[in-house]
Symmetry: C2
Amino acid sequence: MKKKSCGRLICAAPEFCADLLYAGGFNAPDPIVWFQTSEFQAIVVSILEYERACVQAKKNVRVLPLEEFFTREDKFKNDELLIQRISEKYGITEWLVPGDFPVSTADTLRKNGIGIIPAGNFFPKRECKNTSEIRKIARAMSATEESMMLAREILKQSVIGKNMVLYCGKKVLTSEFLRMEIEGFLKARGFTASRTITAHGSQCSQPHNVGSGPILAGETVVVDIFPRDDETGYWGDMTRTFVKGEPLPVVKRAYEAVLAASQAAEKMVCAGVIAAEVHNKAKTIMAQAGFETGKNKDGIPCGFIHGLGHGVGLEIHEAPRVSPANPGPLKKGQVISNEPGLYHPSWGGIRLEDVLVVTETGSRNFYTMSKDMIV
Amino acid sequence: MKKKSCGRLICAAPEFCADLLYAGGFNAPDPIVWFQTSEFQAIVVSILEYERACVQAKKNVRVLPLEEFFTREDKFKNDELLIQRISEKYGITEWLVPGDFPVSTADTLRKNGIGIIPAGNFFPKRECKNTSEIRKIARAMSATEESMMLAREILKQSVIGKNMVLYCGKKVLTSEFLRMEIEGFLKARGFTASRTITAHGSQCSQPHNVGSGPILAGETVVVDIFPRDDETGYWGDMTRTFVKGEPLPVVKRAYEAVLAASQAAEKMVCAGVIAAEVHNKAKTIMAQAGFETGKNKDGIPCGFIHGLGHGVGLEIHEAPRVSPANPGPLKKGQVISNEPGLYHPSWGGIRLEDVLVVTETGSRNFYTMSKDMIV
């Protein structure tokens, strides 16, 4: 019987695979292979990417040209054949792969006697960021915060016209306009944002509604900005809720409840604290202020209808979840969003989102911008 | 023995899965499930996305809330359990899935007696675009062309300073500046571009080098712009090569060869013509002009070192390939790039890229902008 020899392998486009970007340090929109044997790590890239990969790849990662594994006689130079050749060359009989490894590639390799074992969590340590990662994340958060200040400024400078419609100069201030201003500002600084939420009024009752149409005075405007740094691949994430003019009394009360929940959650975050308990704390505070979570008579979910937070890094939503689904403790170096919100079809929605890095004694907030609602 | 009943299924985030966006018409950054039985098609989305999905989804696609498949007792509401429940509810014993379906999900389902059959090409008809798709693609191409004209204008307006460095007003004209101008212009119109290539001089010898640093007069500047329409998910793609001032004689000759190849290839494209032959035609023309393809004495690939083209649609690179690897005929409605290029470490690179829609009598070019090199 052949001796078993296990390696680790990823086959994906780094741009869309955080594990691969994390492992290799090399970003590309087309698929590459990363693998690790007991002796070394390497990425295999096409000759078109070779020089760039040599410059960008992590110091401990070898860069191998794709050609090294193929011959002139190979008709189909596909991923399956490449992995087969890598396995033969380095004597690997079994690969640990991320859970989202493609099933067709796995089936072919298994048919050829190569073991493919999907891992539940391929790089558990990706959850806890080191100093260099936190620096990169801080860069993304800082650009995000600047673009949020721009959004606030646009609302502040707007004037109230006929039928309460807001104007920016002579133009009607719409969700679309506000989104383009934010995304254009970020793009000019090397950050890519899409589907930025600039919802207003009743649209805000759906947390993922990006918003459309003219914004009115007195309405809430939920601005949720989450750009990716084109250079590093790390994400920023931030939400504020603004009102130009006078909000409804219920909106004022909901805002106060969300703000109190945000402050209490931030105060509670610390390495060792149970993630689900932070979520529950925020939920309880909002319930005590009169905003229970549950379905209304039409079956529509109201109140605090999502988790309090999620990890942020090379993915916009990554581990850990800060919700009832995570009974585990927070850990030092985790970067998590803290985003309590309240939603109701009758008056809209409020959300305030900061991002915190978990420390041994508490947390550090990436943002210093005020959470004031009225501009 | 249980009767076999086969369905089709995708489980992915539509934003990153063209097949899913194509099938459901609903765009979201988080994973959803689409499935098709012999009777109907549906997408299953979380309650947070339900209303938006009902508006956006294709007319023939039902929208089902995730909750319908889970009970309060379910501890882990994951994809595996969801697909299990869908299979039970609609009596499906075997699913045809795209090749990149996650292996861990496949393994779990197979263990539970549900067949998972990866398909080589899940939606072959995605290759041939209908009128509505071509309209959406034209929108993306038009924005791309406008941004290319902006890039040309910036180079045209630039002035030659000390040591041949180009200036845009008082600022040194760099690759980074040019990229940001292009990407900002597109973002302000609702198109997302990243890694736009604005390479200059010797950087152009690597087709994927995005470019950096000050641009000099007399150097080639390869500008390759490929934005995605935030609204529709369709891509644009276009390349031009510019020189401010006087290019080297070899660059002029290479440019003429690439231009001739582009024109000959475009003339040849027609439904029924073999894709590989179009590539070979372009290659031959450039070789006859003195630009052979092969490795130089240092082992670096020179000449026409990539395929002539690729399909463009909901993916920036999709079927069909227009290269020696595709011995099949072009088909009516395919949208393909036509991008001959020449590369050499000693003088840099030239690439000219148009996008064509294949018709029964020839092709239509999405672009009318001139290919003139000298600005």
